[in-house]
């Protein structure tokens, strides 16, 4: 386990303070009024970009600060506490990583400075059905002269309504289920034949449904190898998975703190309900699970930073535990608040809704338990 550097402690404290003042849960609540059809508050995103967060994993020569995944994870954890909505994971983490790992010098110079300063918002268009299954990709890319033609559908695409650059996962050979034949493409939203509509999901983050009908791309739209992007995609996804696990750690930690506050203030039967042993032991069990989750998340992010060969299983461990633990704590958050927890006015429901969407993102707990099991000989 790596101890935080002084700069990382400063970054975390800055993120905590900013999230507390600028992005409390009341800010997230505004998404449910339809005030932000892009799925986030653009003014808040501009603030985040101004603080350099969009460039945390972007190299310095391309406008970033090259500060590593653990550092970005610290910011995401703080933002997760108050459910702050932003395209940080989609753009600054996933698409930035894709370009960094696979982009040509021209592609990196074209896009990474904009991603680092927040003026470009990237989004990964991968899933096509109700379940995360990268190899099930069916959207086709056919060679047309020097270029390509893309046809198919993507849903849900997180931050897809806000995106100014898509990384589209397409099939250049084989069929759904095949390990080979996947290729990544850089696609701009004004491409002819591309349409996006907003999906009204429970967490109000408005991912997109993307349709691509005869979208024509130049040859230089290919990102990385043609037909062999499966391994690359896994590496990119693992960065996103560790990042959202960090966000979920923050969300679970705050949900737990909110429950604890309630146990210490709510009086029934002439007692603070937190004095009841049955509830104390449930709180103690949640505290224990949070300990395991924190360890798993920190280990996964650290593994990505040093290029540990075991990063895939460490990431799956973190994402699976994040899914399971947040599932449990978000359910307990409702139950332990009783009737008030069922109201939209209370925050518990917001945590529950965001918890389920985060679990489904980039592979739910079951997906990652299976992946961990395969990687470890089960």
């Amino acid at each position: 386990m790596v101890v935080l550097s002084e700069e990382q402690v400063m970054l975390r404290d800055m993120a905590a303070e900013w999230a507390r003042e600028r992005m409390p849960v009341t800010a997230y609540r505004k998404l449910f009024t339809g005030a932000f059809p892009l799925g986030h508050d653009p003014a808040a995103w501009a603030d985040m970009a101004a603080m350099g967060w969009a460039g945390i994993v972007v190299p310095e020569e391309l406008g970033g600060v090259d500060f590593g995944y653990r550092s970005l994870g610290l910011v995401l954890e703080e933002l997760g506490k108050s459910l702050a909505a932003s395209p940080l994971i989609s753009s600054a983490l996933i698409v930035a990583t894709a370009l960094r790992l696979a982009g040509t010098a021209e592609q990196q110079a074209r896009w990474l400075p904009g991603i680092a300063d927040g003026s470009v918002i990237g989004a990964l268009a991968l899933d096509e059905g109700p379940r995360h299954a990268p190899l099930a990709t069916a959207l086709t890319a056919r060679q047309r002269g020097d270029g390509w033609q893309l046809d198919g559908l993507k849903r849900p695409v997180p931050d897809g309504m806000a995106a100014s650059l898509f990384v589209v996962v397409a099939r250049t050979s084989g069929g759904p289920g095949d390990g080979d034949g996947l290729t990544l493409f850089l696609v701009e939203p004004d491409a002819v034949g591309l349409a996006r509509t907003s999906l009204d999901q429970v967490d109000a983050r408005s991912p997109a449904l993307l349709t691509l009908a005869g979208v024509a791309l130049a040859g230089d739209a290919v990102l990385g190898p043609v037909g062999g992007a499966g391994v690359l995609l896994d590496r990119i996804l693992d960065c996103g998975r560790a990042g959202i696990a960090a966000e979920m750690l923050g969300t679970a930690s705050q949900a737990f703190e909110t429950v604890l506050d309630y146990l210490k203030t709510r009086v029934q039967f002439g007692q603070l309900i937190g004095s009841f042993q049955a509830l104390q032991h449930r709180a103690g069990a949640m505290f224990g699970e949070l300990q395991l989750l924190r360890s798993a998340v920190e280990a996964a992010l650290a593994a990505l930073d040093v290029g540990d060969a075991e990063a895939p299983q460490l990431v799956s461990l973190a994402k699976a535990m994040a899914g399971d633990t947040l599932h449990r704590i978000s359910n307990e958050m409702i139950q332990l608040h009783g009737g008030i927890g069922m109201t939209h006015e209370h925050d518990a429901g917001l945590y529950l809704k965001r918890a389920r969407v985060a679990d489904q993102s980039y592979g739910n707990a079951a997906f990652h338990r299976e992946r961990w099991g395969r990687l470890n000989g089960f």
Partner: protein, 396 residues
């Protein structure tokens, strides 16, 4: 895991590695240290073990952070960790480790008089004097402070009468550190911490047979036992505070610092078989094995993280209770899974029809039921977490 950066630590690590290579008897490689720790007869009869014990005692590395005058090596915590890591890397073990080093020693270092330290710490540092813990009584288990064993001031000595139970290794112990009642008018404020020579007239230890077949635990009877006045640790009626601190050390040693836990996957593949995709053939068992395997891994990560965080702080803290409950929960589940995957062979008790591994799994599974009872039960630990870590209120 790069724990140290300085050349000083690297040099120390190299020195430790060389010393272990030169001094650890190869015959002991991979041996279960608990065998020697728990069985004085086995330990005394094994020349290799005795040689290894004497060498470690002479260099003081069994208790590396204790001062030299008490038999330690006067080293820093970080150097102590390096010794443990290098022992593990060489498939060696610490032959000095005992209840004395884990529980009484740290307690005496904090609360003992100079005379008590000089008398008792050096034999502990050499593992020449075995200790047992006289805390629980038939009427005082989880509610330890309700203990009744009487200790009366007779002027020139203490007179002790009563019974202790669940005393690990009492039948082999040379000495006992006990909680005794010196005042009946105050529950917590009437307890004292007393050191008792097990050879004193009136002391009798009887082994108890457990569900696992183990006779490790004893009941101990004290009938008008005379104890010298100088054997009381700390002030009279102040024993509860000392006991609480000692129990923190005990919890710390129970859960923290355990070695890597082997994956159950290879054994499961052998016993259950694999499907055409190479997965463990029983999907229900497989799912539960995976879940437990992940928790075992995350628990190991948690120990590492807490150790790193503890470097900044000092000594064990209340968070240890949460860790102990995670550990007992995860390891009990693992023991159940091991027996389940072995099927009928995982329920063998004795005889050549079952492999050593199978019989060991049966016993380990039965023994694992104690994980959530000893060292403060699961429920008591949960109370401690709720009150001391989470700050939840007391019931009125």
């Amino acid at each position: 895991m790069a724990e140290e950066t300085g050349g000083e630590d690297a040099a120390f690590r190299a020195k430790v590695r060389d010393w272990i290579a030169a001094n650890f008897p190869p015959a002991l490689r991979g041996c279960d240290p608990l065998l020697y720790q728990g069985d004085a007869v086995a330990a005394a009869g094994d020349a290799n073990f005795q040689l290894w014990r004497e060498r470690m005692a002479d260099i003081g590395w069994g208790v590396p952070t204790w001062p030299r005058r008490y038999g330690g090596a006067g080293l820093e915590e970080a150097q102590g960790r390096i010794i443990l890591q290098e022992l593990a890397a060489a498939s060696a073990f610490n032959p000095i480790r005992s209840y004395g080093t884990m529980m009484l020693g740290p307690t005496l270092l904090e609360y003992g008089s100079e005379e008590q330290k000089l008398e008792h710490l050096p034999p502990i540092a050499r593992h020449e004097r075995r200790w047992c813990q006289g805390f629980s009584e038939p009427g005082a288990g989880s509610d330890l402070a309700s203990l009744q064993m009487r200790c009366t001031d007779m002027g020139d000595h203490w007179l002790v009468s009563g019974q202790k139970i669940w005393t690990s290794g009492a039948d082999q112990a040379d000495w006992c550190f006990a909680l005794v009642r010196t005042d009946t008018t105050s529950k917590h404020g009437g307890i004292s911490f007393l050191l008792i020579d097990m050879k004193s007239p009136g002391v009798e230890a009887r082994p108890i047979v457990l569900i696992s077949g183990s006779t490790h635990f004893c009941e101990v009877f004290f009938n008008d036992v005379q104890v010298p006045k100088g054997n009381l640790v700390g002030a009279i009626n102040q024993g509860w505070g000392i006991a609480k601190r000692l129990l923190q050390f005990e919890r710390d040693s129970l859960s923290v610092g355990r070695g890597a836990v082997p994956s159950l996957a290879p054994l499961a593949r052998d016993y259950v078989g694999v499907d055409e995709q190479g997965r463990i053939a029983d999907p229900d068992l497989r799912a539960r094995l995976i879940r437990n395997g992940m928790r075992v891994t995350a628990f190991g990560q948690t120990l590492k993280r807490l150790a790193t965080e503890a470097k900044a702080g000092n000594g064990p803290n209340s968070g240890v209770s949460a860790v102990k409950n995670l550990w007992s929960d995860i390891m009990q589940e693992r023991a159940e899974l091991l027996v389940e995957m072995m099927g009928a062979n995982g329920l063998g008790w004795s005889g050549e029809a079952f492999s050593d591994e199978e019989r060991a799994a049966t016993r380990a599974w039965l023994h694992s039921k104690a994980y959530s009872i000893y060292g403060g039960s699961y429920e008591v630990q949960a109370n401690i977490v709720a009150k001391r870590v989470l700050g939840l209120p007391d019931h009125r």
